[in-house]
Structure formats: structure tokens, C-alpha cells
Amino acid sequence: MKAKKLIALVLSVVMVLLLFSACGGGGTTSTSGTTSQNSTPADTSTPESSAPTQSQTTTDDEGEAPVITILSDGDNTPNADNLVVRELSERTNTKIEWTYVAGSEAEEKRSVMAAGDNLPDLFEIGSLSEGMDFMNGGLLYDLTGLEDKAPNLFANAADLLDLAPANANGIYVIPSGELTYADNLNLRKDWLDNLNMAEPTNLDELYDVYYAFTYNDPDGDGVDDTFGLCANSSIRSFDTIFGAYGIPIGENILLDGTVTTYAKHPHYLDAIKYVRKLMADGLVEPDWLTIPNMDMFGKLWNGTAGAIEWECVGPTNNWMPGRYTEETPPEFCFPIIEGPEGKHGVQAKFPSVSTGVAISSKTKDIDAVLRVLDYLCTDEGKALLYLGVEGTSFNWTDKDNYQFEYLGDYQDSTYQRSDGIYVYFWLYKTKDPFEIHTLNEQTQEGVAQAWDNMLTDEAIDCQVDIQARIDYGSDMDAIIDEMYAALLTADSDDQLQSIYDEHISRWETEGHGTEWEQEITEWYNSTK
């Protein structure tokens, strides 16, 4: 009986303790032994109150390296303990705790952490609204007056700081100003050669190439197991085709003096009809609406598909040759496709001033955080992120011209990424991307060609906080996405106009598109 009582007592106490430990978890321990959640709410209730204070900038009394928490995203899975993070900690005299999440989950993760008052020291700002929300909520550190603590960081962003909408009353977001990659049409050149076909230059020739890729056995194995183009539910899968009609997908355009969505472009339905013809004739991935991203890539990797619309960095560099399963890796070319009116191009990219990197207003050691961030903006820091540690993972063969070689196991890209190489750069990309120099010659040419091919004149760069967009942005986007899917899956071309009209009408009324058009056109006219 006594034993029973004792067991009951012990079990109950253990359960209660577990309960309370579950309630109290979540805070990141700083070097001074307190948790970041212990700060009073008043400390961060306004943006102004996040200015550095003496207590916030003190470093650890015992001289231990301060713990810096970082959150970034990407599409790799680095080991928790890896070469890059270890080396970065050592070089910056910090203890880095780097959380890495999938790109699709990053903004949600930050939202949840922000709602729980648990943001890491250093993190990305992925959208204009996110930067504004965090800044207005007093969650971001005002870096005004701290420019001398991170000279490389501020040198990169100097001319961008005032352009960032979140920086109206301080320096809360450091824009990277990075110009992200534009898309190429990556076409199997070896298949073209096998079929004695020239690179296509217009939409008719492109159709002929996709047709031959699908029905003329381009790989010569005697089996009917190929098709023309990899695609998924993203309109980006047909970037070049929409570009041939002068449509900068995903961007705003100017139509009769009104700034509006690209979906209102007069040739939008013409582009849709062309894509429908490709689909109807079986030249495009049949699972395009439901295929997961990696499976779509897989069709290129295993020699099933002959083309993909994607930034060439994937097909000709990052996936080459390890991802390809054929005996001889494929060769690619990047044809530019002209439309009926001689137009060509791909989605325009603009240097981003609304996204970038930010520091939590609750950070305990701003000097250490800035030290880490600044180091990542040096050539040495960039080399660490992209190539790893000299002598361990790579050696320079001609440093002035960015020529290098990976060493031993690090020649395998999977091994590189698991040890943190080529994984963490998304946290903050500088204007002069070191990454370009790490690409092979063909890819560098492809990147330059894609940037030249952007429909910059047709698109309107709108990195601005528009109220209708803040309130109804996701509803507006959802209607456009649904329209795109409905048009491509319609039973016949005769239905297209009515489907289009119905969705555009919904976009204007239910999605508050008309309201947004008025607001953004006013803004555009005021900035002209």
C-alpha cells in the first residue's frame, strides 16, 4: 500500500512538473542566462523604443561567445552541426544557432514566432507587408546610428535604405537590392541535334520542337516516353510564351493610364490559347496542375521532358551533372522566342527594396549580431557561404577571377549542402552577388541573357504599401490563380472569354481590384 502511495505521489509530481515545463518552453537562452521572453512588453511597444540601450549592447561578462539565433530559408536540408555554421561562429566570436526552414514555410514561421514574441536575433523580411507589420509592431531593431558597426553591410545598402517603405522613421529593414534571377527557356540542345532541328526563334517553331520532342523519339531509345515541356501549376512554367505576347507575368502593367494586373493584358487570352494547344496535343506535362515541384524537376532529370522554363542556374549549374540520371548529361541552350508582334521576354525582376534582413528589437547583443551580418557581406564571408572553408572544402585556383575547385567529398553537391555550403546565402544577398562568380560559364551567360530578356519596360515596379492590397491582396491573387487554372482546363476555346470576364469581374469587385487600381495608379502618377 505504501509503495502504491509513493508511486502515485511520484507520478503526479512528475506530471505536474512536465506540465509546467511545457508552459515555460520556447525562450532562447542568451549568454547572460536570461531568456529573450523576459523583456517587458513596454520595451518594444513602439518602434522608437527599440533603439539600442546600454543594457542591450552589453556583452557577456564572462567573455563567452554570445549566442546569436538566425532564421533563414531555402530548399536544402543542412546538418544541424555543419562546417559553415561552425566556422562562422569561430570567425565572428559568436555561437550561432541557425534555424533553416523550407522556403514555402518561412513567412508563416516568422509570423508564428512574431505572434509568440519569439523572433530570432537575425531573420529575413520576405515581403513588404511583413516588414511593415513587424516595424509597426516594434519588433525590429532601429539601426540608426550603428552604421559604423557594420561598414560592409551599410556600404552595400547605403543607397537603398531610404527607399525601403519600412524605413520611413528609422533603419529597420536592410534591403539587399539583389536582382533575383530571371527565367530562361532551358531546351535540350542534344535532343535538337538528334532530331536535326535548329533552335526555335518563334512560337510556331517552338511548337514544332515540342511536337518533335514528344512524338519523334528525341533520345533515340525507340520508346515513346518523352514530352516537350516540364510544367506545374505556376504560370512561370510558360514565362517565355506569355513574354512572346508582351505579358510580364506576375507584374503590374500600365493599361490606358491605369496600373493593373498583368492578367488584364489585351493578349492574355492569346497566350492562354497557345498554351492550351500545347496541352491538347500532349506536348506538356499532363500532371501540370497537381505535380509536386521536385517531381516536375525529376522529369527533366530522368530525360522524360525536353525543356523547362526556370532560371538556368538550376538546369545547367546546380543540377549538373549529379541530378541527371542519363549516362551522358544533357546539353542545354537558351533560345529566345518571339511572338506574333515580334515581342519577346520573361518576367521582369527589380532590385528589391521591400525585402531584406532585419534584427529583432529584443536582441541582447546588437554588436555581435551586426558583426555576424557584416562578416557575411565581406568577400571572405560570401566565400564561406558559397564555397565553405578554404583548404577543407575548396581551394582557389585563381582567386582574382573567382576560379576555384571543390575538394574531395565536397565535389558532390549533396555533400556540400549537407555541410552547410551553398545553403545559407538567402539570408542576405548583396547587390554584387558573389554567387554569379561561382557559376559555370554557360550559366553565367544564361543569367546575363535572361536579365537582358526581361520585360522591364512593360512592367511597373510597385514596391509600395497600398491599403487595398494589404486588406485584400490574397483574395485578389487567388482569383487570378483560379482564373488561370480554369482557362487552361476549360473544355473548349469558346468558353474562354466568358470564364475570363467572370473572373476579372470577381477580381474587380470581390477582390477589390478596382479599388486597388485607383490607389496604385494615384501612387504611380505621383512618382512619375
Partner: protein, 321 residues
Amino acid sequence: MSKMSKSSIKSPEKAPFSSRFLRVMRMDWMLYLMFLPGLLYILIFKYAPIYGVSIAFKDYRIGMSIFEAPFVGWKHFVDLFNRAAFLRALKNNIFISLEKLIFGFPFPIILSLMINEIRGGRTKKLVQTSVILPNFVSWVVVYGLFYAILSPNSGVIRDFANLIGYQGSLPNLLASPSAARPIIIISHVWKGAGMGTIVYLAAITGIDQGLYEAAAIDGAGRWKQMWHITLPCIRTTIIVLLIFRVGEMMYAGFDQVFVFSNDAIVSQIDIIDTYVYKLGLQERKFGLSTAAGLFQSFTGLILVLATNAIAKKVDPESGIM
């Protein structure tokens, strides 16, 4: 007479409640001690967070305390019901829940009746285990299975079509608006029916075997025994589970809809939970998403009370309260 006898019997003087409570506590302190963690769990994780629903009536933004957020009354509810996307999600929610109720609720009952009729002990266990297994498969995996079967390019159906010599194109059912809801319902029934049978089989096990023997002597076959003995005996269990299920009507299955959704079918299957997820987690509109959540809970409560009242009216012994 009865009045006299009542007054003549003196009841012993009752001790005050506090001392009676303490005495009971002292007597069974072990049981109360083991009850304590559960009580704390309910209070801390179920009741304490309820103060958060006040966000539905406040203009709360990230970084501010809930208490200091300004009160805005019904603003978020008005905004929510003015959004066509929310109304569509509400409509889908109701339809999907009703369809799940109509097709999904009777299925475990039928299945448990069928399993109960299996005489071989081993076969019975095998069938029971087989139908319960899908419950432990996550929705992501279930979607993977459906994709592997229905993919018009690489699915099992495609392979079968090739096998019989059909090379033409196949419809992509996972992206077909007309097939979207049936697929949601079928996958729901397939995954959940087995688990539902456990409760019914347990109730069936508790039925007095003498009833079946008496019925058999009176000439009742197995169908009549099932209809006149088994089903009436598990009626109370059916009603209790029906009340629970109706209470969940506003929750049409976030995980399932989230993984099955794509742009072609979102108009048919977008539900309140997926819409709230977009508002709350992706756009940080906490007031709106909390208002939607509160609306769901409140509607669920009303449905439970109404179903309970109807059940009690039909059969006073049934119901959950």
C-alpha cells in the same frame, strides 16, 4: 401518515461542506493527486487561452499586448461576412461537412455490423486491423497514394489503361472541379471509417447474448437479429457520436483539404479553416482569423445543443447532457 413518518425520522445533522470535502479528500487523496495534473492541463491549456478570443473584438497587431489593443466591437465579423471568399469557404464548409456526415457517419455503423457478423475469430481480427490501419496514415501520405493511383501520366490507372491498350488521355481527377468533393468524401470515409467501428464494436460486445439466443429460438434470422437487437442496443452510442460529429460540422478537415487543394479545385473545397490559415498565418490578420474561429466554435456549440435537445426529445435516455 407519510407526512408524520417523514417528520418523525430525523436526519443526522450534516457536517459543513468544507469539512465534508476535506474528509473525502483525505480519504481518497491518492486519486485526487492523480486527478490534479489532468485538471491543471485543462485549466492551463484549454481555459486560460480562451482570453485570446477577445482578439476577435480588438484591433490587435503583432507586437502589442492583447489587453492594450483597442476594442473594435463587431468590425472583424462584419468584414469577414463582407468577403466573398469567406462566404464561399463557409458554403463549401457546410456542403463538405454535410456530405461527410451523410456518407461518413453511417459507414462505420454498417462496417461494424458487418464485422460483427464475421464468425471466424482470426478473420474478424484481420478485417478489424485492416480497416483501422488507414486512420494512422497522415493526409500527406493519403494524398500521395491518391496521386500515385489517379495521376494521368504515371498513376496506376494510367498503367492499367496502357495494359489494356488504351493510349488516349485520361482526365486528371485530382484537378477536376466536379470530382473534387467526391474525392474528399471518399478519402475521408476510407481513412476514418475503421476507427469509427471501434466504438460501435465495443458497444455491440456489451449486448446481452441472451437476447440473440431468445430471438433465435423465436425464429429470427441474422438480419432480423441485427435489425431488432443490435441496432436498438447501440442506439445510444450512435446518438452520442452523432452529437459529437454534428459539433464538428464547422471543422471540415483542414489537413485533408490543405493537401488536396490546387488552383483548379479550390473553388469547390476551400473551407473556413484553410481561409483562416491564409488570413492568420500568411497575412497576420489575427483579428479576422480569430473572429472566424470564434464563429466556428459558437456555431458548433449551437449545433451540439440543438442536436442534443432533438435527441432527448426523441429518446429521453439519449443525449450527452
